[in-house]
Amino acid sequence: DEESAGHYGMVVFLRGSEFFNWSYAGFQDAAATVGATTELQGPADWDASAEARAVDQLVAKGVDGIAVTAGDAETLVSSINAAMAAGVPTLTFDSDSPNSNRLLFVGTNNYNAGCAAGRAVAEMHGDNARVGVSLIPGLDSINARLAGFTECMQEMAPGAQIVAEVNDEGDLQRAETVNTAMLQANPEINVIFCSHGNPATGALAATRNVGRFDGPNKVDVMAWSIDVPILQGIEFDEYTATVAQNPYMMGVMSFFMLYSAANPTQFDSLSNPGFGHVPTADVDTGVAILRKGDPAIQAFLSPPQI
């Protein structure tokens, strides 16, 4: 219990989304190995300020470490810094807050991930790849993914290009609306690249709406999600592929980073005196591009209940 190995908190900006449940599961499992306890906090409605308050609350409550995924990089800076100043080791996972004093960032290196997706698209369509992107503007993570995607795609297939971007506000229904309109407006699009978790179902629906769900001029949907319906969709040949991050590993790594930061060894951390040792570089948990038949899909098909 609390005393023995400490109590660690995880804060997310979309409480209970399947993705973060994976992370929390990893967080829990890792904690269990050393007999530490954990809790999950955060808003259900993507309000970064509420997330910041949650961090403050955990500090006030006196946890031994906090792993937070930044709904908005800047909004969390002061809370994270306050936590660190209060001696509570704090790191970011999945979505970074680079301007803060967080220990380090554990998660997908968005540029590399985007790059992998870009290559996959280039393999599929070569120079005639015409890509529409569904995104949420303003998230640095997504910008990085897009950069990686564009460069690596055009590196392999110089003719390939991104023809349109739409803002899905991270909402299923909106995603369907805007992607449908995007396909309307740009019939040449043959790939929709979902730059984050939510729009995939919407994007697929959009292809259905414009009658390019299957057949010769099917629009390939490249999802960025490991949600069960998406994975099933891949098995059904609906989605062409998905960029599978490794949220479980993010949770696991986050915990161990926090744990070692919270329990200093005989030499202090290089970058954060007073805390235990953690890597001075970010930790990339990597991605895999999953296509139909990939064994990993089966693994993901039974998400954790928390």
Binding site: L40, K61, G71, V77, S78, N99, P137
Partner: protein, 335 residues
């Protein structure tokens, strides 16, 4: 018939305030005993900061609701103020001393627009302020492209994070505002008129109250306070973002309702609202310290709100019954 009435309605609110206070204390000490780390300075500060912005909006909301209106637009004004002040300082490079007044002025203007439309169109304020909510939220999203704006000067940051005697500035602001607005509402003739308008617009007009002016100025006040909250929030979070304060308007209204104000207007006090705000803060904090599944939070909120309203309703009913029973006894004696 002419014995002094032990003026019942007064007791309505007192009962409610006492009840609310006891519940609040119960939760606080309960959690302290069971989980600990509740009555610490740090947690108290966090708890307060957690609701302070909703609290400031709730103060203005109290005025509006007493007057028989409602203002759904506060949350979007809140975010708008955040963004505007940020853009003015960070992007337009205005000095803080200029950016803040400008922002507040704009917010006040929005309030004036709300009030003017409510008066002019004679539709339910819910609709007008809903329109304003949707419009502004869209504007917020559009002018920032969903990105957050940051990079404030330390002097500005102080407005959100600075402390005096260990108390964060926003909380001091809330307390000060509550005291001033409380006193005005209770003792200042202009604001007393809110009760008359909310109680019976007809009677108010009859007694020569300038209903239109009072209404408009009240919506101005509400937006102005939302603006202040927004500015301090931007400083507190060190960034302005359109998503901040999502659904805060509902939390503010809930606070007012839990505080015993009649949403139909005519009754309510700042003190009650403050209790309502504290209540919400404490409940929320209880969830964190107890680390129970935070998903239950919304459920409890809903139920609490309903209970609070039910209670005040029942008390009111028992009051009218008391009045009737006087007549009843008269009737029975007349045999």
């Amino acid at each position: 018939m002419f014995k002094r009435p032990n003026s019942k309605n007064v007791s309505v609110s007192t009962i409610q305030y006492l009840g609310l206070s006891t519940i609040i204390l119960a939760i606080l000490f309960g959690c302290q005993i069971v989980f600990g780390n509740v009555l610490t300075e740090a947690n108290m500060r966090v708890m307060a900061m957690n609701m302070v912005f909703e609290g400031i909006m709730a103060l203005g909301m109290t005025y509006v609701i007493i007057m028989g209106g409602i203002d759904l637009s506060v949350a979007s004004v809140f975010a708008f103020a955040e963004i505007l002040v940020a853009k003015l300082m960070v992007q337009a490079g205005l000095p803080m001393g200029l950016a803040i007044p400008v922002t507040l002025l704009v917010c006040a203007t929005i309030g004036a627009a709300n009030g003017a439309m409510v008066v002019a169109f004679r539709v339910h304020p819910l609709i007008i302020t809903l329109g304003m909510l949707l419009t502004l939220r869209g504007v917020n999203l559009a002018i920032t492209d969903g990105r957050s704006v940051s990079g404030f000067s330390d002097s500005f940051i102080w407005l959100g994070q600075g402390r005096i005697f260990g108390v964060p500035f926003p909380i001091l602001f809330f307390v000060a505002a509550a005291v001033v607005l409380g006193v005005l509402l209770a003792h200042q003739r202009y604001f007393r008129q809110l009760y008359f308008i909310g109680g019976s617009e007809r009677a108010a007009r009859f007694s020569g109250v300038n209903v239109e002016r009072v209404k408009i100025s009240t919506y101005v006040l509400s937006s102005f306070l939302a603006g202040c909250a927004g500015i301090m929030a931007a400083a507190a979070f060190g960034a302005a973002h359109w998503g901040h304060g999502n659904l805060a308007e509902l939390r503010a209204i809930a606070a007012v309702a839990i505080g015993g104000a009649d949403i139909m207007g005519g009754s309510g006090t700042i003190f009650g609202t403050v209790l309502g705000v504290i209540f919400l803060a404490v409940v929320h904090n209880a969830f964190v310290v107890s680390a129970v599944n935070p998903f239950w939070y919304d459920v409890v909120n809903g139920v609490m709100l309903l209970l609070a309203v039910l209670v005040s309703r029942l008390i009111a009913q028992s009051n009218t019954k008391k009045l009737l029973s006087i007549k009843q006894s008269k009737l029975e004696s007349s045999f």
